[in-house]
Symmetry: C2
Subunit: 284 residues, 2 copies
């Protein structure tokens, strides 16, 4: 609780690497029903949210992740009306989703209400769309939500979760993907954060295999930079029901009526190009 | 000097962020005439080289940097015969340069011979082209080398240096760029590592402005992932003498007779697409 800078450091077991930020003070700490939540003030990255010791986001670089979790999937769908975000308690993905006028309803299903309350206080810019009449914020178990979802009722499901250990483990298996597949309308898209491409290739391959196994017709993995996450290089994986993922609403993306800082129609095309080692490993 | 894992951590003042790797032992440490050199064994990233506390490379991820420092520039040149690498003592960039059959001579001008000797011992795969008859390894001051270089004698200059402080400071100013401009043949290309796009935008803008100021006709900045460097997201900036940088030898890149792990002709095109915030900031 001092103003002399020190460092918050996350040592990541699975990657054997660490990421840290210079911090000036701890703004908040609590143990919620699900996890330990910390908010730090940093010298260069705005505020920092940490869950159970894992860096979740900073004010400065979260736009990379949130834009890439939302826009490639939404512009790949021909008419995304009903969107569900599983996790995503900081509301940043929800905000990006609601930039799309086609979206009629966006439901965020976050298990830990305290994460959203902290985001409202320390990352208010991410919550600016929370009062949009199209938004619905539920604080519930995303796995149960998808299990109970009506068949063919959703256009885009965005799984914006923590790592596949602990509470989020059940979001990376066949049973969960089955519920997503069933709940999606034909042409519907599931997109899920899929960890660092350089170090978690085995996980990405397993996710893609399970997605195909439950019936998805096409799967694509998109890498993007994300300084606050292990290795600084992250990915999301999209799966589509009954249609391919080779194109997207290019005209819509070129003339989108909202500003972005990373995503653009050209970046969409560029992001679909995989580095050689990934292309070979994923058989694309 | 223990085998129980600990962490090597680099706290980066200019970015307010840190990067680290889990290490098992220090393989070597010395104070050369120029800097403190450390070599560590890591649990997940092979060997790690550190100069004056700054992480230079790991066995696992250096391919990203070395490929992107060499191939975009060499495939952007119509016929790169004479290449000079300033810095680059680990020899990884030199190796990538020598994969190009068109190259008749590649001179590496590294100020600290001990860096190369350490690379030979701890990163032998990067040094496998050092005995190529086209290669010349000089241990000398790159600034002086460029000052004394014959006019219009070089096709591609690759500045593969440390950060723009200390020994490398003189590689980021107008006087140095002037010597590079003079030494390049018409159509020649200068490419320089240009730090993290998210946090060092001011430096990138200044480099580009100085490059244009000394006469370069076209300037392009290319971002790429690099886990071992601050923010995990790095860039290089290319400048061309008397010609633009809008195209490249696409057919040559598609049919290149050597394997790469990141670079490809498609990645070349994708890498030229800038994220929105960079495109706006750089006025492209």
């Amino acid at each position: 609780m001092t103003n002399a800078p020190s460092w918050f450091n996350e040592q990541v077991d699975y990657s054997g690497s660490s990421i840290g930020f210079r911090v000036t003070k701890k703004l908040h700490e609590e143990q919620s029903a699900f996890q330990k939540i910390e908010i730090w003030e940093t010298t260069d990255w705005g505020n920092l949210m940490v869950l159970d010791g894992c860096i979740m986001l900073t004010s400065r670089d979260n736009f990379l992740y949130h834009e890439m979790m939302a826009h490639p999937a939404l512009f790949s769908h021909s008419n995304p009306k009903r969107v569900v975000v599983i996790g995503g308690g900081d509301c940043g993905t929800l905000r990006e989703v609601l930039r799309h006028r086609e979206v009629e309803s966006a439901v965020q299903v976050e298990i830990d209400e305290r994460v959203t309350r902290m985001a409202e206080q320390y990352f208010p810019e991410l919550c600016e769309a929370n009062n949009d009449p199209r938004a619905q914020l539920l604080f519930d178990d995303g796995i149960a939500y998808m299990r109970d979802a009506a068949a063919e009722s959703i256009d885009v499901i965005i799984v914006d979760s923590t790592d596949p250990v602990g509470p989020a483990e059940g979001l990376f298996n066949e049973a969960f993907y089955q519920t997503c597949y069933k709940a999606l309308r034909p042409g519907g898209i599931l997109v899920q954060q899929s960890e660092p491409p350089l170090t978690q290739l085995a996980l990405i391959k397993s996710m893609r295999q399970l997605m195909r196994q439950v019936g998805f017709a096409a799967v694509r993995t998109i890498p993007f930079p994300q300084p606050a996450y292990p290795t600084g290089w992250w990915s999301c994986t999209m799966a589509r029901k009954g249609a391919d993922l080779s194109g997207f609403r290019e005209r819509g993306a070129y003339s989108k009526p909202f500003a972005t800082r990373y995503y653009s129609a050209d970046i969409h095309k560029a992001a679909m190009i995989l580095p050689e080692f990934l292309r070979e490993a994923l058989g694309e």
